[in-house]
Structure formats: structure tokens, C-alpha cells
């Protein structure tokens, strides 16, 4: 018992009080910004460099749905492209993940795209089933961390559950490997209506580095309405939790 008191004393209070305003490291790479005066030759340089094909060769915009947050474009053009440590990077529509040059405003979920039933049904409690479909286990570990003693998203009634029958939606990680295409479909079908789909991490949103691999099958993603896109390599717990809070209308 004495040992436990000692541990609890050192442990202190680990709970993050305000998940909206929790500071993260300056080095953390969240929402990118591109200078409005980026030139055509600079755009050509970085779009050729980008391993994920996330930079548009015509206008220099960065697609966070493809971006692996490796920072190589910024290393090449430090005064034209930089990644802020803003972790509120979730979007309800795929094209909103594209950041244009000169756009330095915060990204906020557009409420017009949220299906009516989502907030009506789920804003008191949201039970999610997680399917890893070719994920590399880093996004999966970050989703686990979202419920841990520090981040504790359970305070908003958000929780991962063990069965699709108990779930209100599905969180997909990974580019969707061919061998997971069928289990993913079966799992989704087993969730009762209404249900939501969240893509967590760049791999899930666009296939990431694996987009061209013959071993993946994106048909599920292509054929379903996605409710929330949360980029990252992996998705940061604060990005995930803030995204889900935005979707549910939690202030």
C-alpha cells in the first residue's frame, strides 16, 4: 500500500484539462502554411520533391490528405512553406484538406457538411469501432492513447467498443489492404444505422505511400460517404479528439 501511495504521489495529476488549448511541442508538424508569393519555379521544385505527391504542381497547394508531414518541402524552402503546430486539422469534406498558398487561417469544420442525424444522435455519447486495414500500428497506438490517462476522451462519452453491434461508427486506419477489404465491409455492415465513418491518418485518407500498390483495395473508401477526415502520420491524439469534438459540436 505504501508503494502505491508513493507512485500516486509522483504520478500527480496527468489529466489534460483543456483538450482544445493543450500546447504541443514547437517541433510538432500540424497545419501547413504556404507563402502567397511562392513562385512557379519554387512550386515545381517542391512538388517534384514531395514523396507523397501532396503538392499541386500548378498552384502550390498542399493536400493534407496526402501529406506525410515529413517537412522536406519546408527544409527546401524554409521561408515559403512551414508547418505550424496547430493540430486542429480535421475536415468533413476531402477538398477542405487542401491548403492554398496565402491561406493561414485556422481550419474549422464546416457545419454545413455534417449530416443532421450525427449531432442529434451522438453528441452525448459516441461509441466507435476501430478497424486497422494495413495501418502501421502508429495511428492505432495514437487512437489508444486518445483514451489514456492523459488525453481521456472518455470524458465526452467517446469510446472504442469491442463489437460493431455496439458501435455508432467506424474509425479506419491504414490504406486498406486487399486482404482487409472484405472484413472491413463485414464490420461496417454490422453497425446499426445511423452510422459514421472516420478516416484517421494519411494512409486511410488517400492511401499515402501505398496509393499505387497492387496490394491495396480502396473500393470501400471510394464507395462510402466519409464523415470526418483526420490527417497525420500518425494521427495525433489531439488532432483526433479535436476532430471528433468538432463533428459532435462539443465546444
Amino acid at each position: 500500500m505504501l508503494r502505491e501511495f508513493k507512485v500516486l504521489k509522483s504520478h500527480g495529476r496527468q489529466y489534460i484539462n483543456d483538450l482544445r488549448k493543450q500546447p504541443v511541442s514547437e517541433e510538432f508538424r500540424g497545419r501547413p502554411e504556404i507563402s502567397a508569393d511562392i513562385t512557379a519555379s519554387e512550386i515545381s521544385l517542391v512538388s517534384g520533391l514531395c514523396p507523397a505527391g501532396a503538392i499541386d504542381a500548378n498552384n502550390g497547394s498542399i493536400d493534407m490528405g496526402k501529406c506525410l508531414f515529413c517537412n522536406e518541402c519546408s527544409f527546401a524552402l524554409r521561408d515559403k512553406i512551414w508547418f505550424t503546430n496547430d493540430y486542429r486539422i480535421a475536415a468533413g469534406r476531402r477538398d477542405e484538406l487542401v491548403i492554398e498558398p496565402g491561406n493561414s487561417g485556422p481550419l474549422r469544420l464546416n457545419e454545413a457538411y455534417i449530416r443532421k442525424e450525427v449531432r442529434k444522435m451522438f453528441n452525448g455519447a459516441l461509441k466507435l469501432r476501430q478497424v486497422s486495414a494495413g495501418g502501421d500500428n502508429s495511428s492505432e497506438m495514437e487512437l489508444n492513447a486518445s483514451g489514456n490517462v492523459n488525453f481521456d476522451f472518455g470524458r465526452y462519452g467517446i469510446e472504442f467498443v469491442a463489437s460493431p453491434r455496439h458501435a455508432d461508427g467506424i474509425v479506419i486506419t491504414g490504406p486498406v489492404s486487399r486482404n482487409m477489404a472484405e472484413p472491413l465491409n463485414i464490420c461496417y455492415d454490422a453497425i446499426p444505422y445511423p452510422k459514421i465513418i472516420i478516416l484517421a491518418g494519411t494512409d486511410a485518407i488517400s492511401g499515402g505511400l501505398f496509393a499505387g500498390s497492387p496490394a491495396i483495395d480502396r473500393s470501400f473508401i471510394d464507395n462510402h460517404k466519409i464523415d470526418l477526415y483526420i490527417p497525420g502520420n500518425p494521427v495525433h491524439p489531439l488532432a483526433f479528439i479535436n476532430g471528433v469534438m468538432d463533428l459532435l459540436g462539443i465546444k
Binding site: E27, N137, A215
Partner: protein, 508 residues
């Protein structure tokens, strides 16, 4: 080619050898030599793979000799149209996964293999009509036993895989683990990608929980193949990153082990410490898993004296608290009752399977690449690798504690050493490294699970034509299956977590 063996011996890690200098043995001789080597306690197989060229199949084997600190490489060659070969697995069981992988890709059967069935159902398998949902599981015809199937999607937030238990009541008689759900064709992407930046990112995504271990194997391999010079500062910084990764995972897994036996105080205390560890990695390179940190021939995130000081302070604090926490965990009878004599893997079993890393060491097989084939700053460090005996969940939990403490000790010592070097030059990454032509290159690192081996084959122009990735999980998954025999099925989660093997690292 020394002392009766017919092989190329390479003393360095990473290392390389000209393909024309690798002895090609007749298959009978190949079997004889492989079986003789793998029966020695100091030898085990790093990788064994086949490559299809325009006129033949070339089979390469890499064997680590822990005593001579060398890697032995030799090969055999077979014509196209070959349908089957005699299996070596029946004499040296540790090759079972490698023969399955070769058979699955090329359709070359291995006669006498006890377990010849698909390994990971890759998109380029020879028999595209086989499907992962139709896996030929072992079964027992009996009215007294029953089967329990779990997965591919698991109850928690973890990667997919299928576990098929054959039980007698609550007791597990047999467990078969079938993987492949995570296959993304990652090894085939390596040769096809545009440049080394792409490959570096790919290496970090082989297994995200071992981003540093795999990215380091890739970077070391590239540097060795390009003949770049050794940078003492970089050599220290990379080891600090690797040991940060190891300590963070071990602490996190102790949290999960406590969670699996419903010991919440231990769980949350370890979770909080893991958070400090990975946030420290984030303060260094912007990513909690170290993605972006390890690059060929340099780094974008040199360890400044300020960051080194921060790591030192945080580690000191975690170390103090971790000692308190483990003192509490291992003195709790509710925990020890669940850990002791649970899921025992004997030293003999671990040897036969070719087990590596912490799982092997907790069964008394003391393999560690940091000692046997030292790389980077491990060359000139004095420390001893923790040992653990018993092979049960308790042994694995104890070893994780000891290894986490050792990692933190190594980090602190290296930071002291680093303070003299932190003003020395450190270069930016080089994504244009030119690989030595017509060569086989390899790099072996000791990730937190165990040895990671990357191999490359280049053509006459120095282009990568084949890239091999071996995660330690490939060897060790079979240990989990053996650990569960005669155990209560309810002890599966705690056993699984005590190994915490990689699905994506296995499936590629």
C-alpha cells in the same frame, strides 16, 4: 571461405558483398551446410529468400554467427520451371517461415516441410486463386474439443490477424496464428520508388512502433552500399533515438500487461511515463514515434545541446518514477500470480524457432545484435545485456523492466559523451546515395522486439532490384503459438501483450 565452410564471411554490420563472390552451392551441399550451421548455438538465420531473374531463381541465405561477429552469406541457384525442392525445415525448423514465403511467391514446393501453407497472402503470390478467408487451418476431429476463432478484427484497437484456438474446455491444446491481413506490398515498393527520400519514408512505415529501428536499418544499408564515411556524432544520436524507442515501448507494454490483469494503478502510472518518453521524442523531431528523424547519411534534426539537456532531464525523472512503479507492480501478488508460470517458452523451443530479441532473451537465448554484431556507437560502449530466465510472462515482463532501465542508462551516458561532439558538424540527409553495383548489402539493427534485417540486391548499374525486410516478429510469432499450449484461453491477452509482436512488420 575459411575453415571448411563454403560461404562469404563479412565482419562488418552493415556490410556488403559482390554477388559474383557469393559461393553458389549445389542444393545438397547447401542443405548440409545450412543444417550444420544452424545446429550450432551461436548461429541463426537472419534471412533466406529467393529472387527470380531472367534465367533462374537465386536463393540467398544470411546466417549470423554471434561468436565470430560475422555474417555468412551463400546461395544456391535453380532453373525456371522448378516445381519442388527438399525442405530444410524438417532438419532446421527455424527456416519454416522462409520456405513458406518462397513457396507462396514462386510456387516452389518444399518436400517434407511440416507446415507448408501461405504466410502472408501477398498480391504477387503464385496462386492467385487462394484467398486469405480460406486458410487451411489445422484441425482436430473430436467431439470433445472445440475451436475458437478470433479476428482478423480484434476487440481492441490493434492490427488485424486471425487466431484459431483448439480447446478442451478452457484449456488451449493448439493455437494457429494466421497473418497477412496487413500486406501492403511494401518490399516490392522499395525497388520501384523514385528516390531514397521515398524509401526512407517507406522504411518508417514498415512498422510504426519501430519507426526508428527500421529507418535505421534502411539508412545504414544505404550508407554502407554507397561507402559514406562514419560520423561519430550521428552514430551517437541515432543510438539515443533507438534506445528512446525501446524504453518507451517497454514502458508502454508494461502498462498494457497491467491492464490485462486488471491492475489499473500500474497501467495508468506506466501510461503516463510512456507519454513523457514519446513526447520527448516529439520535442526532438516533431513526431512521437521518431518519424522524420532517421535519414541516410545525415539528419534534419540534429540533437542540439538544449534538446540533449531536455532528454537528460526527462529521462532522469522517468527513471526515478519507473523504479517506484516497477517496485510496486512486481510486489503485487495479484499481478505476480497472473504472470508467473504463464505461457512458458523453453530455451529449446526458442532455439528451434530461431527466436530473436527480448522474447528469445527471456527464454535464456541471449542473442542481441548490439553485442554480437555491433553497429554505430555500440562498438565502443561497455554494458551488459540483461538476462532473464524462465520463459514465462513474468520473465518477459522482468526483461522489459530491465531493458527499459538499461536503455535509459545508455541514453544518459551517451548524452554525456555527446556534449563534446554537439558542436561538430552534422550533415543534411543525402537522398542521392549511389549504391555499389552487382552487390548484396545488408544491415542488421536491434529494435525493441529484436533484430531487424534489411537486404538489398543491386544490378550492374547500382539500381535496387530486390529489397528484403525481416522484422523480428517473423521468427517470434511461432513462440506465441507455443506459449499458449496447455494454458487457459483467458490468459491469451496477457501472453499476447508480453510479446507484442508486429502484424504489419510480418505481413509487409
Amino acid at each position: 571461405m575459411i575453415k571448411g565452410g563454403i560461404y562469404s564471411e563479412i565482419l562488418s554490420n552493415p556490410g556488403s558483398v559482390r554477388i559474383k563472390d557469393i559461393p553458389v552451392l549445389p542444393y545438397e551441399g547447401f542443405i548440409e551446410q545450412t543444417v550444420a550451421l544452424l545446429h550450432k548455438e551461436n548461429c541463426h538465420c537472419l534471412d533466406y529468400f529467393a529472387v527470380k531473374s531472367s534465367d533462374a531463381y537465386d536463393f540467398y541465405i544470411l546466417i549470423a554467427n554471434d561468436e565470430s561477429h560475422k555474417v555468412l552469406v551463400y546461395s544456391h541457384r535453380q532453373n525456371h520451371g522448378l516445381k519442388e525442392l527438399e525442405s530444410i525445415t524438417k532438419s532446421s525448423f527455424q527456416l519454416h517461415v522462409f520456405e513458406r514465403s518462397i513457396w507462396e511467391r514462386f510456387g516452389i514446393g518444399f518436400v517434407g516441410h511440416p507446415w507448408l501453407k501461405p504466410l502472408r497472402y501477398p498480391a504477387d503470390r503464385f496462386d492467385i486463386n487462394t484467398h486469405i478467408a480460406g486458410h487451411p487451418f489445422y484441425s482436430i476431429e473430436s467431439e470433445e474439443t472445440h475451436e475458437v476463432g478470433v479476428g482478423p478484427i480484434h476487440a481492441g484497437v490493434i492490427e488485424p490477424g486471425h487466431f484459431r484456438f483448439i480447446c478442451y474446455g478452457e484449456k488451449v491444446l493448439h493455437l494457429e496464428i494466421q497473418l497477412g491481413y496487413q500486406n501492403r506490398g511494401i518490399n516490392n515498393l522499395f525497388p520501384s520508388l523514385k528516390n531514397h527520400l521515398h524509401r526512407s519514408l517507406l522504411a518508417e512505415n514498415i512498422a510504426g512502433d519501430t519507426a526508428v529501428g527500421h529507418a535505421l536499418a534502411w539508412s545504414l544499408l544505404g550508407e554502407s552500399m554507397a561507402g559514406t564515411s562514419y560520423n561519430p556524432r550521428l552514430a551517437i544520436e541515432r543510438i539515443i533515438a533507438l534506445e528512446l524507442e525501446r524504453a518507451a515501448v517497454h514502458i508502454g507494454d508494461l502498462a498494457a500487461l497491467c491492464g490485462d490483469v486488471a491492475y489499473q494503478t500500474g497501467q495508468v502510472a506506466c501510461e503516463a511515463l510512456r507519454t513523457i518518453m514519446i513526447n520527448t521524442t516529439q520535442d526532438w523531431c516533431g513526431n512521437r514515434f521518431g518519424k522524420g528523424l532517421i535519414r541516410p547519411s545525415g539528419t534534419n534534426y540534429p540533437l542540439t545541446s538544449g534538446k540533449a539537456e531536455l532528454i537528460y532531464q526527462r529521462i532522469s525523472e522517468v527513471c526515478r518514477r519507473f523504479s517506484e512503479v516497477t517496485d510496486m507492480i512486481f510486489n503485487d501478488s495479484g499481478v505476480t500470480a497472473r504472470f508467473e508460470n504463464c505461457g512458458t517458452v523453453t530455451a529449446r523451443q526458442a532455439f528451434l524457432v530461431g527466436a530473436v530479441g527480448m522474447a528469445a532473451r527471456s527464454s535464456g537465448i541471449h542473442r542481441d545484435i548490439r553485442k554480437s554484431h555491433p553497429f554505430l556507437a555500440y562498438h565502443d560502449m561497455s554494458y551488459s545485456i540483461p538476462k532473464s530466465e524462465g520463459g514465462d510472462v513474468m520473465a518477459r515482463a522482468h526483461l522489459r523492466k530491465a531493458e527499459a532501465l538499461l536503455s535509459m542508462d545508455i541514453i544518459c551516458k551517451l548524452i554525456e559523451k555527446h556534449s563534446e561532439l554537439c558542436n561538430s558538424e552534422i550533415q543534411e540527409p543525402d537522398y542521392k546515395l549511389q549504391f555499389e553495383p552487382a552487390s548484396l548489402g545488408f544491415a542488421v539493427t536491434e529494435g525493441w522486439r529484436g533484430e531487424i534485417c534489411h537486404t538489398s540486391l543491386t544490378d550492374d548499374k547500382g539500381q535496387i532490384v530486390n529489397y528484403g525486410i525481416k522484422d523480428p516478429s517473423l521468427h517470434n510469432w511461432h513462440l506465441l503459438a507455443l506459449a499458449l499450449r496447455d494454458q487457459e484461453i483467458s490468459d491469451f491477452p496477457v501472453n499476447n501483450k508480453s510479446f507484442n509482436l508486429s502484424y504489419c512488420g510480418n505481413d509487409l
